[in-house]
């Protein structure tokens, strides 16, 4: 089984044997398997898991980060002889002689799909941005003094809300918050449009990841977008004019 050697200023302090099929935690608190008593080290700083024949190092959202080969890492498959830097301490990973080591192919294990803890991933992405990760090595205090601006989460579906403004046949604005908005003569529609030629449901507007699409459903009066008859469906662009019978709307995105 591999050995983790805890060092301070190149002097070995203690050796830990890492069993296959188990894990080890590293941190300041005495409940950790590897305890590092230093204020630069988080209470629960990092862990090493035995997985699929290899050993995976994971930073547990530590305040000052975990570095391998002078690079900030969040998760990393440990290889023979690699040194993990935590605060001013280092932990060296080495296999015992004649020990079975994971094959090169096992490095692909990081290709396996994983799910991020949604609350922590933005933080992790921020930490891995090149501005932070590239200049190495850093002292722990520098890292903690450079908080990254938190990116805003993308809105649901990534789309702004579309609005229809009446140009004729009505007044006011209609927000397209429904996933599908049906337009027609029937009272059951989301938007009721009168007119002899207008179908019970004449058209439908659906909100899809790439934008709003309007499609023809039924009736004699086919919808027109910017004067062109919609045979099936088209993607709406901002300021498009929609015409159904004698009713007219302009499509816009909410400011």
């Amino acid at each position: 089984m591999p050995i983790l050697t805890l060092k301070f200023k190149n002097k070995a302090i203690k050796e830990y044997r890492l069993e296959h099929g188990s894990n080890m935690t590293i941190g300041r608190r005495s409940t950790n398997d590897i305890v590092i008593e230093n204020l630069a080290v988080s209470g629960l700083h990092a862990k090493v898991d035995s997985m699929d024949g290899g050993f995976l190092l994971t930073d547990l959202q530590s305040k000052n980060g975990t570095f391998v080969n002078e690079k900030l890492v969040t998760s990393h498959w440990l290889k023979e002889g690699e040194t993990v830097m935590i605060g001013k301490h280092t932990v060296t990973f080495s296999y015992a002689k004649d020990e079975l080591r994971p094959q090169e192919a096992d490095d692909n294990a990081t290709d396996a799909t994983m799910v991020m803890d949604t609350t922590s991933y933005r933080d992790m992405v921020a930490k891995s941005s090149p501005e932070q990760a590239a200049p190495a090595p850093k002292t722990p205090s520098q890292v903690s003094q450079a908080p990254q601006p938190q990116p805003q989460p993308p809105s649901q579906g990534g789309n702004a809300i579309g609005v229809l403004t009446y140009l004729a046949g009505g007044t006011g604005d209609i927000e397209l918050t429904n996933k599908i908005v049906k337009l027609g003569k029937n009272k059951a529609n989301d938007i009721v449009i009168s007119g002899f030629m207008v179908g019970q449901t004449a058209a439908a507007i659906s909100n899809r990841p790439n934008g709003y699409h309007i499609g023809y459903v039924g009736g004699m009066a086919k919808p027109k977008v910017n004067g062109e008859t919609v045979k099936e469906s088209v993607l709406l662009k901002e300021f498009d004019v929609i015409e159904i019978g004698s009713t007219k709307f302009q499509f816009m995105y909410q400011a």
Binding site: V115, S128, K179, E232
Partner: protein, 281 residues
């Protein structure tokens, strides 16, 4: 109503020993599902299987036999009843996977993506969690209908330049999955369908290897059955690093009551829910 021709294939690929993908297709129900499982040991396989078993089971229940629980019915008013039902089915699958992963240690940490298409009389609903793609082929164009829940895609939406510099591993890092947390948030859309429209559902084993333009090209040239095989072969010929699953479905005709006052009236009454469906069918 849409008359559909469909086909689906799941293949282990060239590198993996286990196929953790699952699929479900049923033209009668108008329901199509691809699920890509993940998580150690045999958990991924199990998770994706739960997803493709639970959703059809839930969707085939009569609405009045569904218990009126808060957890299942807590959705915004902005979606149709059928969309709600699909979200409920995904919620149900999420609970099942989550419960199993908590109860059985060997399944701990398992999860799955889900991409599902469900047809109503005049629309189809696309719902998804994770990174399995749903494409719509309409009028010689291809459009992504699913919202990809991985770190790269979400970061690209915020800052494309910085996202480019993120490592490759972020591509396979999902921000949402079925069964990983106690609740799940699926993305959903509802659209009309037209004759000759095609929908393609696939796991990342295909979308990582074959571009959307290439998928469009194959879908335009070949029947669903043949297109599935061609696409799987393409992914495998390019390394087959992951399990490959694909469903291709094509709307071969759309049945509408076009003429006659009576059928129009019936359609109208059916629309407003005046007549029971029995009389109409």
């Amino acid at each position: 109503m849409a008359i559909i021709e469909s086909a689906g294939i799941t293949d282990v690929g060239r590198k993996r020993k286990v196929n953790e993908d699952s699929l479900f297709l049923d033209d009668k129900m108008g329901l199509y599902i691809v699920a890509d499982g993940m998580g150690g040991h045999r958990g991924g396989e199990f998770a994706s299987k739960i997803v493709v078993d639970t959703i059809p089971e839930y969707m085939s229940q009569k609405n009045d036999s569904i218990p009126n629980s808060e957890a299942l019915h807590n959705y915004p008013e902005s979606i149709s009843e059928e969309s709600k039902k699909l979200l409920e089915a995904i919620t149900c699958a999420n609970e099942k996977v989550y419960r199993n992963s908590k109860e059985k240690q060997e399944l701990s940490g398992m999860g799955s993506t889900v991409s599902a298409i469900c047809f109503t009389d005049d629309t189809f609903i696309a719902g998804n969690v994770g990174d399995s793609h749903i494409y719509l082929v309409h009028d010689s164009g291809i459009e992504l209908l699913s919202v990809i829940h991985n770190v790269i895609t979400e970061q690209t939406a915020i800052d494309p330049e910085r996202a480019k510099r993120l490592g490759k591993r972020f591509k396979h890092m999902l921000t949402r999955a079925v069964g990983v947390e106690a609740s799940v948030n699926a993305d959903i859309s509802e659209s009309q369908f037209f004759k000759n429209d095609q929908l393609i559902l696939c796991s990342d084993g295909l979308s990582d290897k074959v571009s959307s333009e290439e998928i469009l090209d194959v879908a335009m040239r070949e029947s669903p059955g043949k297109a599935c095989q061609t696409l799987v072969n393409m992914a495998n010929d390019r390394g087959g690093d992951d399990n490959v699953t694909v469903i291709v479905l094509k709307i071969i005709s759309v049945e509408t009551a076009k003429s006659g006052v009576v059928s129009k009236l019936l359609q109208f009454f059916k629309y407003i829910g005046f007549l029971p469906k029995k009389i109409l069918n």
